[in-house]
C-alpha cells in the first residue's frame, strides 16, 4: 500500500510486494504474500496482527535475517533509493545496525549475563564504529543511557541487577548507538508489566522526538498502538488488510478484521459484552482464491470467497483490502 502517508515527510522505508515463503517438503508456507508497507522519516508505524500472521517475518525480511527454510521469494525493500534485497551480503552487513537496527522479541532476555552493560554497549560501539578510547566509549555509553532515561550508573551493572523495563531500555540504547534512521522494535513491551510498559513506550516516543529516528513497532497490543503509533498497518494471514493514520483507523476502521480487533480490546471504563468470533487463520500453505478473511468474516459477501480484494484507498492515507470498503 504505497499510498501517500498521513504526514508529508519523505518516505524512508518502502516495502513493495514482499513475498516470503517457508519451504517445507509438503509445500511452501506463504508467511508473507504481497506485503506493501512504508515508513516515513521520523514516523512511528505500528504493524499489528495476531500470532502467525507474518509480522515478525516481514520485519526480519527488512534486515534480511530470514533463516532457511525461509526465503524471500519476491519484492523490493527500498531504503534511500537502494533495494536492500539486491545488495550483496557484505554491503547488507554494513547497513545493518547502521541504517536500520532491531530490538528483537525478548531482547531483554538476550543480554549477556556475564558482561556489564558498559561492556555490551561498548561492544557495539567498538565493532561498528571503531571507537577505541575507553573515555570515548564511556561518554557515548552515558549519553545513550541518558537518551533512554536511564541513570549513568546503570553502565556498571550486570543485567540481572536490572528490572525488565530497564533491560529493555538498554536494548533500545544499543539499537540507537549508531544513529540509525530506522529502528524495528518487535514486541517491545509484551513481557513487561503495565507501568513499565508505559515507560518503555514513552522512551520510544522520546527517541523519535529527540533524534528523529523512525520506528516500526510490531505488536499484537492494539491499545498500545493506539497510544504510540502515528500510522497503523493491520496484518492478517500474510497480507496487510488495512492501513491508515492511527486516529483514522480507530475512528473509521472499515475492514471487518480491524473492527473486530478493536472491539475485542477489553475496556476498563465500561463493561460490555465482548466481541468474539470463531475460526482460525487459514492454512498458510493454501492460497485461497478469495479474501483471506472470508472464512471468519461475519459480513462476507458472495464475491468475497472467490475474488481477492485489492488494496484501495478509501480515504486520504487510508487503504483497505475489502470488497465492502469501496
Amino acid at each position: 500500500m504505497t499510498g501517500p502517508a498521513a504526514s508529508n515527510h519523505e518516505v524512508l522505508l518502502d516495502i513493495q510486494e514482499l513475498r516470503v515463503d517457508y519451504e517445507t517438503p509438503r509445500g511452501a508456507i506463504h508467511a508473507c504474500s504481497g506485503v506493501n508497507l512504508s515508513v516515513c522519516k521520523g514516523e512511528i508505524v505500528g504493524l499489528v496482527g495476531e500470532s502467525g500472521c507474518g509480522k515478525t517475518t516481514a520485519a526480519m525480511s527488512v534486515l534480511r535475517l530470514v533463516q532457511p527454510p525461509g526465503r524471500i521469494a519476491e519484492g523490493r525493500i527500498m531504503i534511500g533509493g537502494t533495494d536492500l534485497l539486491s545488495l550483496d551480503e557484505e554491503d547488507m552487513r554494513r547497513r545493518r545496525w547502521r541504517d536500520i537496527s532491531l530490538v528483537p522479541q525478548g531482547a531483554m532476555n538476550s543480554l549477556n549475563p556475564l558482561l556489564r552493560i558498559s561492556a555490551q554497549i561498548g561492544d557495539v560501539l567498538r565493532t561498528h564504529q571503531g571507537v577505541r578510547s575507553r573515555a570515548a566509549v564511556g561518554d557515548r555509553t552515558a549519553r545513550l543511557l541518558g537518551l533512554v532515561g536511564l541513570p549513568a550508573r546503570v553502565a556498571s551493572l550486570f543485567p540481572h541487577e536490572l528490572s525488565g523495563g530497564m533491560k529493555q531500555r538498554v536494548c533500545i540504547a544499543m539499537a540507537i548507538a549508531l544513529d540509525p534512521s530506522l529502528i524495528i522494535a518487535d514486541e517491545p513491551t509484551s513481557a513487561l508489566d503495565v507501568i513499565v510498559q508505559r515507560v518503555v513506550a514513552q522512551t520510544l516516543r522520546d527517541i523519535r522526538d529527540r533524534l528523529g529516528i523512525a520506528i516500526l513497532v510490531i505488536t499484537h497490543d492494539m491499545a498500545l498502538i493506539a497510544q504510540l503509533a502515528d500510522r497503523v498497518a493491520v496484518m492478517y494471514a500474510g497480507k496487510i488488510v488495512e492501513s491508515a493514520g492511527t486516529a483514522d483507523l480507530f475512528a473509521h476502521a472499515c475492514h471487518p478484521y480491524t473492527r473486530l480487533l478493536i472491539d475485542a480490546i477489553p475496556s476498563i471504563r465500561k463493561r460490555k459484552p465482548p466481541a468474539s468470533f470463531g475460526g482460525l487463520m487459514p492454512d498458510a500453505r493454501a492460497t485461497p482464491a478469495g479474501c483471506v478473511f472470508s472464512s471468519r468474516c461475519t459480513c462476507a459477501l458472495e464475491c468475497c470467497a472467490s475474488s481477492s480484494p485489492s488494496p484501495r484507498e478509501v480515504a486520504h492515507g487510508h487503504i483497505a483490502s475489502c470488497h465492502l470498503c469501496q
Binding site: L162, F250, L260, I265, R271, K272, S276
Partner: protein
C-alpha cells in the same frame, strides 16, 4: 451449610530462610486472606504484576506448594491434612485452568486422553459407554464439538481451542471452584473473548465460582465480580471490581490504572509523573509498606510499619494504606 467452601487464612510463603536467621528471606506471599462462601457463584479476580505472588497463591490453593505459615481450609478442613476420600472430594471440587494451553497437554497422547483420565479417576461414568456422552456435554458447555477436537494432538489445535478444552475438563468434574491462572494471556486477542465468555457462562448457568488470576486489569474489569490487587505478595486493595477500578483508593492501584493505555488515540496516555523503577527484590524493605519506595504519597510512617487493610466503605472495599485511617484498627470481618 454456612461453612465456607474455601478459606485462605493468613497464607504466607517465604523462600530461602536460613536455619538460624530470617535474613535474606524472600516473602512471595504475605498474609493473604480470602474466602469463597457457599453461596451464589462469583468470579473473584486476583490481579497483580509479575512477582506479586498471584501464581504462588494459585499453587498453594491447589496443593502444589506448602505454605510457610497460615492455612487453606476446604469445608473446614486444612487441605494439607486431607486424605483418601476427602482428598478426592477436594480435588474434584477445586479444579484449575492454567496459563499455557500447550504445556498442559501430554504431547504423546491425543487431547482426549486428558478428559478420559478425569472421567476414569473420578468414576464419572456410571456405565462404560456413558463416558462419551458426558464428555460431549462438557464440550458443549464451552462451545466445542467432540468430533472437531477430540481426535487431535495438542499441536493441531489453536490456543483458544486448547484453553476451552481445559475448561471443559474442569467443568466435567462439576467443581465448585475453578482456579484460572492467567487463562488468556497466551491466547490471541480475537480468541480471548471466547474463553472469558465461557467463564461467565459457567458462572451463570452452572454456578461455578472462579478465582481468576491475571495481570490485566481490563479483563478483570470485564469479568470479575470481586477484585483483589496484590503487590509483592501483599494485598493492596480489595473490594467489588467496579468499586476498586472506578474508584481506586490505594496509590499503587491508581498508578496501575493510569498506566493502562486507552485504545483511543484522541485520549492522551498521560505519562504522569515518573514512577521509580521496581528493581526486584534487591533492596526490598523488610518492614513497612511494599510500595513505599515508589509511592507518590508516602508518609514517614509508611516505611516503618506495614499498613493493615483498612475499610473504605461498608461494602467490603478495603485498602492497605495509612491514608485511610492512620493506625486505625483493621476491619476484621472477612470479605
Amino acid at each position: 451449610m454456612s461453612q465456607e467452601l474455601l478459606k485462605i487464612n493468613h497464607a504466607t510463603k517465604a523462600y530461602g530462610s536460613g536455619l538460624f536467621s530470617s535474613r535474606g528471606q524472600v516473602v512471595v506471599l504475605n498474609d493473604f486472606n480470602g474466602s469463597f462462601p457457599a453461596g451464589p457463584a462469583r468470579i473473584t479476580t486476583v490481579a497483580g504484576e509479575s512477582g506479586s505472588g498471584k501464581t504462588t497463591l494459585a499453587h498453594a490453593v491447589l496443593g502444589f506448594i506448602r505454605l510457610t505459615s497460615g492455612s487453606i481450609t476446604f469445608r473446614g478442613t486444612d487441605i494439607a491434612s486431607l486424605r483418601g476420600g476427602a482428598y478426592r472430594e477436594y480435588r474434584r471440587s477445586v479444579q484449575a485452568v492454567f496459563q499455557d494451553p500447550y504445556e498442559v497437554y501430554n504431547p504423546f497422547y491425543k487431547v482426549k486422553h486428558m478428559l478420559d483420565m478425569a472421567v476414569r479417576n473420578f468414576r464419572l461414568a456410571p456405565a462404560p459407554g456413558a463416558a462419551g456422552e458426558i464428555i460431549e456435554k462438557a464440550l458443549e458447555a464451552v462451545g466445542l464439538r467432540g468430533g472437531e477436537v477430540l481426535d487431535h494432538f495438542p499441536h493441531q489445535l489453536s490456543g483458544g481451542q486448547r484453553q476451552r478444552l481445559m475448561m471443559a475438563r474442569a467443568f466435567l468434574l462439576k467443581p465448585s471452584i475453578i482456579i484460572a491462572d492467567e487463562p488468556v494471556s497466551m491466547i490471541d486477542a480475537s480468541l480471548r473473548s471466547m474463553v472469558l465468555d465461557t467463564m461467565m457462562t459457567l458462572r451463570d448457568q452452572h454456578r461455578i465460582s472462579f478465582l481468576y488470576i491475571t495481570h490485566d486489569l481490563s479483563t478483570a474489569y470485564q469479568v470479575g465480580d470481586d477484585l483483589i490487587v496484590l503487590y509483592r505478595g501483599s494485598i493492596m486493595e480489595q473490594g467489588r471490581t467496579t468499586d476498586v477500578i472506578d474508584n481506586p483508593k490505594h496509590p499503587y492501584v491508581k498508578d496501575l490504572i493510569e498506566a493502562i493505555p486507552v485504545p483511543d488515540p484522541s485520549v492522551a496516555w498521560n505519562p504522569g509523573r515518573p514512577i521509580p523503577e521496581d528493581t526486584g527484590t534487591a533492596g526490598k524493605p523488610e518492614t513497612g509498606c511494599p510500595y513505599c519506595s515508589r509511592c507518590s504519597q508516602r508518609m514517614d510512617c509508611c516505611s516503618t510499619k506495614a499498613p493493615p487493610l483498612l475499610a473504605i466503605d461498608g461494602n467490603g472495599h478495603r485498602a492497605a494504606c495509612f491514608l485511610y485511617g492512620e493506625m486505625a484498627s483493621p476491619a476484621t470481618a472477612p470479605v
